[in-house]
């Protein structure tokens, strides 16, 4: 199809835009002397219908198989002239443009110099055109379904939007229940809506939606393929409870010999649970789960005479034989909504978190003030780890109520010493909210907030912050240096930086306003999807301004905090954005893939993997091939993933991987043409 080159060169006057400075006749004369040039012409407006007709006529009558248009920027009219070629069945990639307007006639005044430069530009285009190859423009079909990973608020919202639009959604959640971090929260700032009240209806919706297949207590194990055709493998971990039979009555949990022995993750370890449990009353699905690390029967093979839970379950739902189930399916798009972890306050040892019982993280405090939490919403002093030692029949002392509570902001945010330079965006406001909740419940409690800056930038934020201060919460500007104990009291050592006064602040309870950090298991998803990370280690979007929900890989989108800290409305907005972005290819049913992709010469490839490492799209993999009887590894490009940047071609030492239309053998002659003389 490539054939011996027969090139037509078409030099455009563009009215006087080009011809006013560049001697077009002279350029045409010069072009006609270049190798393989069969015809060189000029015309007032090449992009006009008669101009394009000149080209198509020549292609048909002279049998041209390469076309050079010397006119404006290819960024302007390359698509136009590609179509011109296509209209007479010439492969559109046999076009090369010479930009003699934007980068020549419009920027140079001297006609002689401009004409000379125009000739060089045309020559470079001709020598490249001689070596152009026909490329295929490929389309792939898109499976009308989406995988959403993570069922926090972002994942739930995205799943609902897509399902409502009529596409199938597979919603995969690692934990036994959907809801994510949002369902742990008490109230939301600044409106003080009850978090559970606004979220539970959506949780129920995802479980019941006919287009959503919800997989909780499940993990994505393998992802292959590319946009339109991802192959997914999910492991549904065994709960040892038959989901169809379990009625969620809770008899089993009460019966469990280990009831109340283990910290409940949902309550951030403040509350306790047994080996069989429902993380929280509104959990969706409302099905019990056996924790196989702690279940006596599963760890020791023995639980008294027989497992108590099994005895208690009237529905006969408990089955210790149940195994993990592997589910495989295909999707066209993927939304990653894996959320975040809170900063591990132990990394700031000066705050003595984990040393003193009443130094809490804000998320623990959320559970403490939450009406559905372990204390029923009562704010009391904690005596951690003592519960287990309580002897039978011993009278519990009445809980002590803190007389003063101190919040410390920016724990693990804006802090280079722990490697987190960024602002977590939610701490200022949730601190204000929690301070308000304290004041609401314990009017006389003295509430102090240590802060660096208060960032109240969102809708209604500044007003809320103001309100909280008016309620008597004391804000001290300063970053505490140490927390220690003096008698019964915790002492926060700090400097009030507004007055430059060192101070030691006594308090009963300290709440650390911990920041949001990438999940500790981020790596799993990165490895599965080959996502990139930004410098803060959250997942990297394709463009910080214009493609905030896309990733470098087509068909994979980001929603919620996994891309960077954000509050609930922002997470929801991004989820809706991701959902609509994912629906575009699903609705159209087809996507075009880049034609100017990379291609490997497997004969010379040495399989070093430099290209694999360099590719931002994970479009290249090493595969084993048989080279004259020897097993060797060579690079192979997945053309559906390749975006045609060419970084691989520059990384390859043996020139074995090349970018179509920008091959070394196409660019080196251009360099020569521009360099000589």
């Amino acid at each position: 199809m490539n054939g011996k080159p027969k090139i037509g060169v078409y030099v455009c006057h563009c009215g006087t835009n080009i011809a006013g400075v560049v001697d077009v006749e002279e350029v045409v004369k010069f072009a006609s002397t270049l190798p393989d040039v069969v015809i060189a012409r000029n015309y007032s407006y090449m992009c006009s219908d008669p101009g394009q007709a000149l080209i198509t006529d020549d292609i048909e009558k002279l049998g041209l198989n390469r076309v050079v248009v010397a006119s404006c920027s290819p960024r302007m009219h390359e698509p136009t002239f590609r179509k011109t070629l296509l209209s007479v069945d010439l492969n559109p990639y046999f076009l090369e443009m010479a930009n003699i307007r934007e980068q020549c006639s419009w920027v140079h005044e001297d006609p002689i110099a401009a004409t000379e430069k125009a000739k060089r530009i045309v020559e470079a285009a001709v020598v490249k055109a001689r070596r152009l190859e026909a490329l295929d423009v490929k389309e792939v079909d898109v499976e009308p379904s989406c995988l959403v990973i993570g069922a926090g608020i972002a994942g739930i919202q995205a799943a609902l939007d897509i399902a409502d639009a009529g596409f199938k959604v597979y919603l995969v959640e690692k934990n036994p229940s959907v809801g994510g971090h949002m369902i742990q929260l008490d109230k939301t700032f600044p409106t003080l809506d009850c978090s559970a009240c606004i979220l539970t209806p959506k949780m129920v919706d995802v479980a019941n939606h006919p287009n959503i297949e919800l997989m909780t207590y499940s993990q994505v194990e393998e992802i292959g393929g590319y946009i339109g055709n991802f192959d997914i493998k999910v492991r549904k971990k065994s709960r040892f409870v038959d989901m169809d039979k379990c009625t969620g009555c809770g008899d089993c949990a009460e019966a469990c010999r280990m009831a109340g022995r283990f910290p409940n993750e949902f309550d951030e370890g403040i509350g306790m649970r047994g080996a069989i449990y429902l993380p929280f009353p509104q959990a969706v699905p409302a099905k019990y789960t056996i924790d196989k690390e702690n279940c006596l029967f599963l760890t020791k093979g023995k639980c008294g005479e027989s497992p108590k839970c099994q005895e208690a379950c009237q529905a006969k739902a408990i089955n210790f034989e149940l195994e993990d189930e592997i589910v495989e399916f295909k999707v066209g798009t993927i939304i990653v909504a894996t959320g975040y972890d809170v900063f591990d306050a132990r990394k700031k040892p000066e705050y003595a978190y984990g040393v003193y019982d009443n130094v809490l993280t804000a998320l623990e405090f959320e559970r403490l003030v939450n009406a559905s939490g372990p204390t029923g919403g009562q704010i009391i002093m904690l005596e951690r780890g003592k519960k287990k030692k309580k002897k039978e029949g011993e009278e519990a002392e009445p809980p002590r109520v803190p007389e003063s509570i101190t919040f410390i902001q920016c724990v693990g945010s804006r802090d280079k010493s722990v490697g987190n330079e960024y602002c977590s965006r939610v701490c200022c406001m949730y601190t204000a909210k929690l301070a308000h909740l304290v004041k609401d419940k314990l009017h006389d409690c003295e509430v102090t907030v240590f802060y660096m800056d208060v960032r109240a930038f969102g809708k209604g934020f500044e007003e809320f912050y103001d309100r909280v201060r008016r309620e008597g919460v004391r804000y001290i500007r300063g970053n505490p240096s140490e927390i220690f104990k003096r008698g019964d009291k915790l002492v926060v050592k700090a400097e009030d930086t507004l007055t430059s006064t060192p101070l030691e602040h006594e308090t009963d309870m300290v709440v650390l306003s911990v920041g949001l950090v990438p999940r500790s298991d981020n790596r799993e998803i990165i490895d599965l999807l080959k996502l990139s990370q930004s410098s803060d280690l959250f997942y990297l979007e394709a463009h910080p301004k214009l493609r905030p929900v896309d990733t470098a890989s087509d068909g994979i989108f980001l929603a919620g905090v996994c891309q960077g800290p954000k509050d609930i409305p922002d997470a929801v907005a991004q989820a809706k954005g991701a959902a609509s972005a994912a629906m575009i290819p699903m609705a159209s049913g087809k996507v075009k893939v880049e034609a100017q992709t990379s291609v490997v010469n497997e004969e010379t490839c040495r399989g070093c993997g430099f290209c694999v490492q360099v590719c931002p799209y994970s479009a290249i993999e090493l595969v084993e091939v048989n080279r004259m009887g020897w097993p060797v590894k060579v690079a192979r490009v997945n053309e559906a993933l390749c975006k045609g940047c060419g970084a691989c071609a520059a990384a390859c030492l043996s020139g074995s991987i090349q970018q179509r239309s920008f091959k070394d053998l196409q660019l080196l002659p251009q360099i020569q043409a521009l360099g000589v003389k």
Binding site: P35, E123, V127, P669, Q672, A673, V676
Partner: protein, 341 residues
């Protein structure tokens, strides 16, 4: 032919005289001695053992334009060697001169190579006898040469201490001697005899040797012998042994064309030790490994060449032994050939 003497303090003026020709002499840069065109007599370095790169490249350049062309045009512009003018290679070793005499047979064989032969015709060789063998790996005497050998030379110089004994050997040599007559004096009586003694002593100092008898006939019988695998195992496939060999003469012809269509056809040294040397366009290579390539190098020198030209294409200069990065030693290979059964 009158025997003359060139006093050492007159060497520079003699060289100055010769710069009216294209004068090539050994020159030292860093520790490397290479023959190059000399404009200034101070550049010449005659106190050398042997040059790293043999002077063959003066008559057989590493890259040589044959003709120029314009693509699509029938006209060619041939290289005119005559333009290079009369050339004098001053101070080359007898083995390297003898090598030229051996290679002459190839270039004037079935096709008379105009470029090479013209250049040879324009060139006068002024040799410098090896009073001391330049290296422990010299073995010229095994191949019919000698530290004082004269084959291929036009003049032989012998270092007599404070002067060189100048012996013209050919008509060309006499002519050159004539040119230099202003700088020459009559040789002291007894110099010739003394030179003969020096020659005998020098031959005695050649430490390595090989009896080549029967090798040309035996080599083809060892085609599949296991010795080739063994002697080539360490070979890196580089071009040192062949490029630095005074008798190796393989070349490749390539066209170098600009995008404008202007181009030249040039020949350049090639090496049978390179993997692309016999690589076919199909991808097939009849000499796929260093085993076949090593076998070819030895066979070409010690079998094919003597069969065709009645002389072994090796002068025993020892360069390939001295400079091989992995100590592949042609004498060891030949000994194995002799011993092989």
């Amino acid at each position: 032919m009158a025997v003359k003497k060139l006093s050492k303090d007159k060497v520079k003026e003699a060289l100055q005289e010769l710069t009216k020709f294209r004068l090539i002499a050994p020159a030292k840069s860093d520790e490397v001695v290479i023959f190059k065109q000399i404009e200034n007599p101070d550049e010449a370095y005659l106190e050398y053992g042997n040059s790293t790169v043999p002077p063959k490249r003066v008559v057989f350049p590493q890259t040589e334009t044959l003709f120029r062309f314009l693509r699509g045009s029938p006209e060619l512009k041939e290289k005119d060697v005559e333009e290079e003018g009369t050339t004098v290679i001053f101070g080359l070793r007898p083995c390297d001169a003898r090598a030229m005499a051996i290679v002459d047979r190839l270039f004037s064989w079935d096709y008379e190579d105009p470029y090479y032969l013209k250049r040879r015709q324009l060139t006068t060789l002024v040799g410098l006898a090896c009073v001391e063998p330049p290296s422990v790996n010299c073995f010229c005497t095994s191949l019919g040469g000698s530290p004082f050998g004269t084959e291929g030379l036009d003049i032989l110089l012998t270092d007599m201490g404070d002067h060189y004994l100048v012996q013209a050997l050919t008509e060309k040599g006499e002519k050159l001697q004539e040119t230099l007559s202003a700088h020459l004096e009559d040789a002291p009586a007894g110099d010739e005899k003394k030179a003969e003694e020096l020659a005998a002593a020098a031959e005695g100092k050649i430490a390595r040797s090989i009896n080549t008898e029967g090798i040309p006939e035996k080599l083809p019988t060892l085609w599949e012998h296991e010795l080739w695998k063994k002697v080539s195992a360490a070979c890196l496939g580089c071009g040192i042994c062949t490029f630095l060999c005074p008798t190796c003469h393989c070349f490749d012809i390539q066209d170098e064309v600009e995008e404008t269509g202007e181009g030249r056809r040039a020949r350049m040294w090639d090496s049978c030790m390179f993997s692309e040397y016999t690589l076919h366009a199909s991808g097939h290579n009849p000499r796929p490994t260093r085993r076949e390539r090593t076998r070819n190098r030895i066979s070409h020198k010690y079998s094919y060449y003597p069969k065709r030209f009645e002389v072994i294409a090796c002068v025993g200069c020892g360069r390939c032994i001295n400079l091989c990065p992995v100590n592949i030693d042609i004498l060891e290979i030949l000994e194995q050939v002799v011993d092989a059964s």
